[in-house]
């Protein structure tokens, strides 16, 4: 049976834990999405914009220098960093804005952490001519100033969120409050495979283009499937996008890399799957970082896009059934990964996939010779250069 089931559950995870007011909007969205999926004109329109506006397909690039440096394996990078707006987020925002138009919504809202999803949302809203408000934690606005400016330049309003930890979690909560209030004319573009049903499944499907292309490309390049897929996991959209089309290919191992922040024993990390427990946050049941009373902890990561105490329910499901393995990489190690890819390949990665890059140093020594490893390079590092420069002397 394909998951989620009709009620939006992945073997018990997921669902819809939301105020009654939103049920009608989620029903409407589910129906519209199911209809659109079967509608050839929807698929054609999305495909058109993915190709001509976003820049798909993205290359699957053999990172020879990095492979030689680490030895043993052939490492490929799925170059989502080359997309318009600089990250994989646009795959999803394009899909959702076309849906919003079909539902005749006049206003778009979104939450953002690193600002990549906010920029990708503001971008498509500008192109399709819809009003756009982006919620962003005040702390994140400070550390991702350039993206704040980009969103404003694109005509969006960026609304600072001062409650709680002033990061992604609080931006999501605030966006949900806005949606409850303006549900009749507003579509909420959630940026990850999180939130209430149908978001986890819908965002996964829009991001699955990453894995579908990868599958075809690696067959052409190597005439076989890869041994490992590696991707960073915050909410988990780039990882799910890469993994999902390979779900049935049992020989392909999935590794999700979370943010260990200042260390897994420090309490300042965002390793939800590695260290969290089952609970309900932002509309779905999944793993989360919480205290023994069910209060949600504040996450920490140097990468604003991973700085989230929850994770998409399908990842929790993958972990439970043993389909994917989840590991964590610290801030310090991520910085090393950031530098490593820059120096070996001339590619400056975002801090989020820099976690996945670093993990290769641990993984490669353990794999069989000539293994094929594919890393999702989910975004480029321009937005992080000023943060990294505070930690690094050159």
């Amino acid at each position: 049976m394909s998951l989620p089931d009709k009620t939006g559950h992945f073997n018990g995870f997921g669902g819809r834990y939301v105020p009654e007011t939103l049920i009608y909007a989620l029903d409407e969205l589910t129906q519209e999405y199911e209809k659109a999926k079967r509608d050839k004109s929807f698929r054609q329109e999305l495909d058109y914009y993915l190709r001509n506006y976003a820049g798909r397909p993205t290359p699957l690039y053999l990172a020879k220098n990095l492979s030689n440096y680490l030895g043993k394996a052939r490492i490929y990078l799925k170059r989502e960093d080359l997309l318009h707006t600089g990250a994989h987020k646009i795959n999803n925002t394009l899909g959702q804005i076309i849906l919003a138009k079909r539902m005749k919504k006049t206003r778009i809202i979104a939450e953002t952490g690193a600002g990549q999803h906010g920029v990708a949302t503001a971008t498509v809203a500008a192109m399709f001519g819809l009003k756009c408000d982006i919620y962003m934690g005040a702390v994140d606005m400070e550390r991702q100033k350039i993206n704040v400016f980009r969103m404003k330049l694109l005509g969006a309003r960026v609304i600072p969120v001062h409650s709680g930890s002033k990061t992604l979690k609080d931006a999501l909560t605030e966006a949900l409050r806005d949606w409850v209030t303006n549900v009749r004319n507003t579509h909420y573009i959630i940026g990850s495979v999180a939130g209430p049903h149908p978001y986890p499944a819908m965002v996964r499907d829009f991001q699955a283009i990453i894995g579908k292309e990868t599958k075809q490309q690696i067959k052409e390049l190597e005439n076989r499937l890869p041994d490992y897929l590696v991707a960073c996991v915050g909410g988990g959209s780039n990882a799910m996008g890469l993994f999902y089309p390979f779900f049935k290919n049992r020989e392909v191992k999935f590794i999700g890399v979370e943010a260990a922040g200042e260390g897994l024993s420090s309490n300042r990390h965002a390793a939800t799957l590695v260290k969290g427990s089952i609970g309900v946050l932002h509309g779905s049941k999944s793993k989360l970082l919480q205290d023994k009373f069910g209060q949600v902890n504040i996450a920490h990561s140097i990468a604003a896009g991973l700085d989230y105490p929850g994770v998409g329910p399908e990842h929790t499901y993958y972990q439970k059934i043993g389909r994917a393995k989840y590991v964590a990489v610290t801030d310090k190690e991520a910085l090393e990964g950031f530098k490593l890819l820059s120096i070996t390949e001339g590619i400056i990665p975002a801090l989020e996939p820099a976690h996945a890059i670093f993990y290769l140093k641990k993984l490669v020594p353990k794999v069989k010779k000539n293994s094929i490893i594919i890393v999702c390079l989910s975004g480029r590092g321009d937005k992080d250069v000023h943060i990294v420069s505070e930690f690094m002397r050159l």
């Binding site: 009620t7 669902g15 819809r16 834990y17 939301v18 105020p19 009654e20 007011t21 939103l22 049920i23 009608y24 909007a25 409650s163 709680g164 979690k169 609080d170 909560t173 949900l176 409050r177 409850v180 209030t181 303006n182 549900v183 009749r184 609970g279 309900v280 946050l281 932002h282 509309g283 919480q290 023994k292 009373f293 069910g294 209060q295 949600v296």
Partner: protein
């Protein structure tokens, strides 16, 4: 018959409407909450909702958000709130409901929660982020333990769903007066009367209206068509304004008394 059902039966006989007060438990501290509950009963409040603070209260506006944050910082948790209800039950006779987001109850353990809540004298449970279809086990646990599960109907709820929800609802139905979060509003939503009339045709269970209700004229309008009104943010706001004052409890009592007597 549960204490909430008895309450509505008595009110109906007396041709009266329910005044339901919400306060955030542990704001500014649990001792004050305890004193407030007693004072509110004395002033004629019919049912009290005690808000269990949560780190991410997505159905709440700024007033209750801030109160929850402060309460959490003081170390309030579900365990302590249940203990408080147990102590209160020695002298408080009116129905007491807990309003909690799902996660604190889930984390506490549903079985353990219902057992303790029922034993300590909790009468009703309101979970703003739980549509009834999402946890049937919780619904049956609440019935088994004689705790009324109070469900929401909102302006966007379809007719089909109104039937479904009112069938499952116990105690009373919580009608959300507007699409939005909790918080004081100037005036009531224009489609309120129309929507309530429709709900009335579908169910005979008591319907009370909450969200945004803060003024005497709001109460008068609601009492014409519903069985009761729920006032939350306006009271919590008043508590905020009187923090640190020795006569805080008395002032809140007076504020609520004035509302009730309109």
């Amino acid at each position: 018959m549960t204490r909430i059902e008895e309450k509505f039966r008595d009110l109906k006989r007396a041709r009266k409407k329910a005044f339901i007060a919400f306060i955030t438990a542990g704001y500014p501290d649990l001792k004050t909450t305890q004193a407030l509950v007693k004072e509110l009963e004395k002033k004629g409040v019919d049912i009290i909702e005690l808000g269990v603070p949560f780190s991410d209260p997505l159905a709440d506006g700024p007033v209750i958000q801030r109160a929850s944050e402060i309460s959490l910082r003081k170390g309030t948790n579900l365990h302590k709130i249940l203990q408080m209800v147990k102590e209160l039950r020695c002298d408080v006779k009116i129905p007491l409901c807990l309003m909690s987001y799902y996660n604190p109850i889930f984390r506490f353990g549903k079985d353990k929660f219902f057992k303790l809540a029922s034993c300590y004298g909790v009468d009703g449970l309101i979970i703003p982020d739980l549509p009834p279809e999402e946890d049937k086990n919780l619904l049956s646990l609440s019935r088994k333990n004689n705790i009324d599960i109070i469900l929401f109907i909102s302006p966007t709820t379809t007719k089909e769903r109104i039937k479904f929800i009112s069938h499952l609802a116990r105690g009373f139905i919580y009608y959300v007066s507007l699409t939005g979060v909790t918080g004081v509003r100037e005036r009531l939503s224009s489609d309120l009367i129309k929507n309530l009339k429709m709900i009335r045709q579908i169910t005979h269970k008591p319907v009370c209206v909450g969200f945004g209700i803060s003024r005497p004229q709001h109460l008068r309008q609601i009492y014409k068509i519903a069985d009761g009104a729920i006032v939350g943010s306006a009271i919590v706001q008043k508590i905020s304004e009187n923090l640190g004052k020795r006569d805080l409890v008395r002032k809140i009592g007076k504020f609520v008394e004035d509302l009730i007597n309109t």
